[in-house]
């Protein structure tokens, strides 16, 4: 059973984030005829802003630390840029006050780069907290936006490259109208911004996109790049650092995804760490949770919390296992009550409490919480531009240590406190392996993630420059295809109600036909790919009835009868010779 409510909330959050709005009560009264007339101010103004300096923050960039930490020493121990203005600092502090999982009150923000392009003023801020470095860009003027990212300082200390990209291709504003790419429509953005930090001896940072190369502004040990009015789908494909001595270095980073087809994984990375498990654990508990020991902090009241709306809290505590990150992780037990999407019973739930207010989480029936593994984890990414993701979750009492093996060969000892854990990692470092050990150092859990949520590699990417083509239309659906980089086929099915599906297929397969989308319900639209020898396809129904479909350009899109079930497709060549059968499988 898929727990859909968190999914809905997260998807809605991405598709329709809570807008930043300014109250215009006088405008309401004027519209109601209750107020004296005055020069019209346009409805609600979307605030942009410094106020949004919110989500992050930190302590002065100066402070302690040694000077022998390598090329990023200005970031680790110095004071890049200049102090933010009083109003900027106050805006930041004001926003922070509203956040339970906020940065420390004495966080001091530094202004690093300010520039203006196309009527938009961009200001890059930096701040450091404990063991994390954060950057934030605030755009104001003709369009507003704010984006931020934090990196653990360990990434700077161990970094072999002289540049660390922290946000890549973050959208700023939208232009009127839409651009169609194949079956889909996209807004054009006013600008796309990328930023990060640079080592002391970096002379220039060059970003190559699909359509051009440009030099970023490099100042205050940072870089900021603005791509004005890029075409939809245009992405940064390469970042190069040029040193003061003239040498150049390619900078690894995670490309911002576009569309639904591509995953993220660097070709030079590999899976590291132990394989398999040395001891199998069945079941598992969290003793302090069951005994209701008041460790850590109390569970904060959160009436909009998913759990709070579907049951009542039995016991819950919150921890901050990772000192480099302000996100707190809560673990709790809940009694689900009808009416609810959950079956009645006791659930073990965990939840992130992040500075921005958003946070993922999930629930399992308490008795089955560790049925699959003694380590349960999730990965949270703010958006496709942010170069960092958070890995967090909870573990049973059997787990004494958790290691995260990155694709670069680095190993992160994941901070684990009272059975909850969290750590940030670079999205450029897939594939990952998450390994749990018992108190004797034996591997008791072992999970891998080869790429970010979806398959990666050339077979899952449309060929650069290739155009989507509508190959078939039937019922309320259109089938669009484009060749993949690996000479396979990427496809999109688009229904007239706006819904659809997509995927990619390898170049070869067995048999004359293969299914692209083969729903098993009556009345569905079925999409098939046919080899060139296939001249016609006979559709067989459960009732014994048959129908015929003719491939066009190697594809079949067939609107099945609403009152019967399709059982198979049989392919014939132009001489009426039978080439093979594709049965329709039903669960």
């Amino acid at each position: 059973m898929i727990d859909v409510e968190p999914l809905i909330e997260e998807s809605f959050e991405r598709m329709h984030p809570v807008p930043v709005v300014t109250a215009e009560w006088e405008d309401v009264l004027r519209r109601a005829g209750n107020a004296p007339r005055k020069p019209a101010r346009r409805r609600i103004v979307l605030a942009i802003a410094l106020a949004a300096l919110a989500a992050l923050a930190v302590s002065p960039l100066g402070a302690a630390v040694v000077r022998s930490l390598g090329d990023f020493s200005d970031w680790i121990s110095g004071d890049p840029g200049k102090p933010a203005s009083t109003s900027q600092q106050q805006a930041f502090a004001g926003q922070e006050a509203h956040s339970w999982a906020s940065f420390p009150a004495d966080t001091r923000v530094r202004e690093l780069i300010t520039t203006e392009r196309d009527g938009i003023r961009y200001t890059l801020f930096g701040f450091r907290s404990a063991e994390a470095l954060c950057l934030r860009v605030v755009a104001t003027g003709a369009a507003g936006a704010a984006a931020s990212s934090c990196a653990p300082l360990r990434d700077l200390r161990s970094r072999r490259q002289p540049v660390l990209a922290m946000e890549v291709d973050q959208a700023v504003g939208a232009l009127p109208g839409v651009v169609r790419i194949g079956p889909d429509s996209f807004h054009r953005v006013r600008a796309s911004m990328s930023f990060g930090v640079v080592a002391d001896d970096v002379e220039a940072v060059t970003l190559r996109s699909d359509d051009k190369s440009r030099n970023a502004i490099v100042a205050s040990d940072s870089f900021l790049s603005i791509d004005e009015r890029p075409m939809p789908g245009t992405r940064v494909r390469a970042i190069t650092a040029t040193m003061k001595n003239g040498t150049s270095t390619a900078i690894p980073f995670a490309q911002a995804p576009f569309d639904t087809l591509t995953g993220t994984r660097s070709a030079s990375n590999a899976l590291h760490g132990p394989t398999g498990v040395e001891r199998r654990i069945s079941g598992g508990t969290i003793a302090w949770l069951n005994a209701r020991k008041p460790l850590g902090e109390a569970w904060p009241p959160s009436p909009r919390d998913f759990f709070a709306q579907h049951g009542h809290l039995l016991f819950g505590r919150v921890f901050r296992p990772d000192p480099t990150n302000t996100t707190r992780i809560g673990v709790s037990t809940w009694d689900a009550e009808p009416p609810a999407p959950l079956k009645p019973g006791v659930y073990l739930c965990y939840r992130e409490f992040s500075a921005g207010g958003a946070g993922g989480g999930g629930c399992n029936p308490l008795a089955q919480a560790f049925a699959r593994s003694p380590v349960n984890f999730g990965i949270t990414t703010n958006d496709g531009s942010d170069q960092y993701s958070l890995l967090d979750g909870y573990a049973s009492d059997d787990v004494a240590r958790i290691d995260l093996f990155l694709g670069t060969g680095e190993v992160v000892n994941v901070p684990l406190e009272h059975n909850v854990f969290a750590t940030e990692f670079s999205r450029a470092k897939y594939p990952l392996r998450v390994v749990g050990y018992d108190s004797h150092g034996r591997v008791i859990s072992n999970d891998t993630m080869m790429s970010e949520n979806r398959p990666s590699g050339p077979q899952y990417r449309p060929k650069p420059g290739a155009a989507w083509r509508q190959v078939a239309r039937a019922g309320n659906a259109e089938l669009w295809t484009v060749p993949s980089e690996a000479d396979g086929t990427c496809w999109k099915l688009k229904y007239s109600d706006g819904s659809g599906g997509s995927g990619c297929l390898p170049p070869s397969w067995n048999g004359p036909l293969r299914g692209i989308e083969v729903p098993f319900t009556a009345g569905s639209v079925i999409a098939l790919q046919a080899k060139p020898a296939v001249a016609r396809v006979v559709v067989a129904y459960k009732s014994g009835a048959t129908d015929e479909a003719i491939p066009t350009d190697g594809f079949v899109l067939y609107a099945a009868a609403a009152s019967d079930l399709v059982t198979s497709f049989t392919a014939y060549d132009s001489n009426r010779a039978r080439l093979g059968v594709l049965p329709v499988k039903r669960p």
């Binding site: 059973m1 809570v18 009560w25 889909d184 639904t260 007239s496 599906g501």
Partner: protein
């Protein structure tokens, strides 16, 4: 003769709800109206309507739920005025940053929902209303809200499985 008693609402009470929940009102109205500017306009108009009609508020439901009803109707009216016949792509505007697989499933799910169900979903997830609040705002029974969401969740599970396949 039967007299209908009106409790009425004060401008101050309405203003308090406006200031406290403006972002949620705009978010939900935007989802229904199809764009942030139309959604914002609809919210301003809705609150103006609420101020004008405040004396007719009976007090038999929470004031906020009464206002939600007005906002939903205003957003719907704006959408109908401007975008009659528009596809649901306009409700869930095209992404500027690509779509995650799960977003695709949710988008597909929302697009497939009948209008009344869609309003229930918006009020649940954008407005954060509980079942009773949704029932009041849409003038339906609490049981209908519960059943509607249960059916909608089932449809989404199916949609996710299809997208992931």
């Amino acid at each position: 003769m039967k007299w209908m008693a009106f409790r009425g609402a004060s401008v101050e009470e309405i203003e308090k709800i406006y200031r406290r929940g403006l972002d949620r009102f705009v978010r939900a109205a935007t989802a229904i109206a199809g764009s942030e500017s139309r959604g914002s306009d609809a919210v301003q108009d809705a609150f103006a309507s609420a101020v004008r009609a405040r004396r007719s508020f009976r007090g038999d439901v929470p004031l906020e739920a009464w206002i939600w009803r007005i906002v939903i109707n205003a957003a719907h009216r704006v959408r109908g005025d401007v975008y009659e016949g528009a596809e649901l792509d306009d409700v869930f505007a095209p992404s500027t940053n690509g779509n995650a697989v799960e977003d695709l499933a949710v988008r597909r799910w929302v697009a497939a929902l009948p209008e009344r169900q869609r309003h229930v979903v918006f009020l649940r997830y954008f407005a954060g209303l509980d079942y009773r609040g949704i029932a009041t705002a849409l003038e339906i029974e609490v049981g209908t809200v519960s059943a509607t969401l249960a059916a909608a969740h089932t449809a989404l599970r199916r949609s996710i499985q299809e997208v992931e396949r």
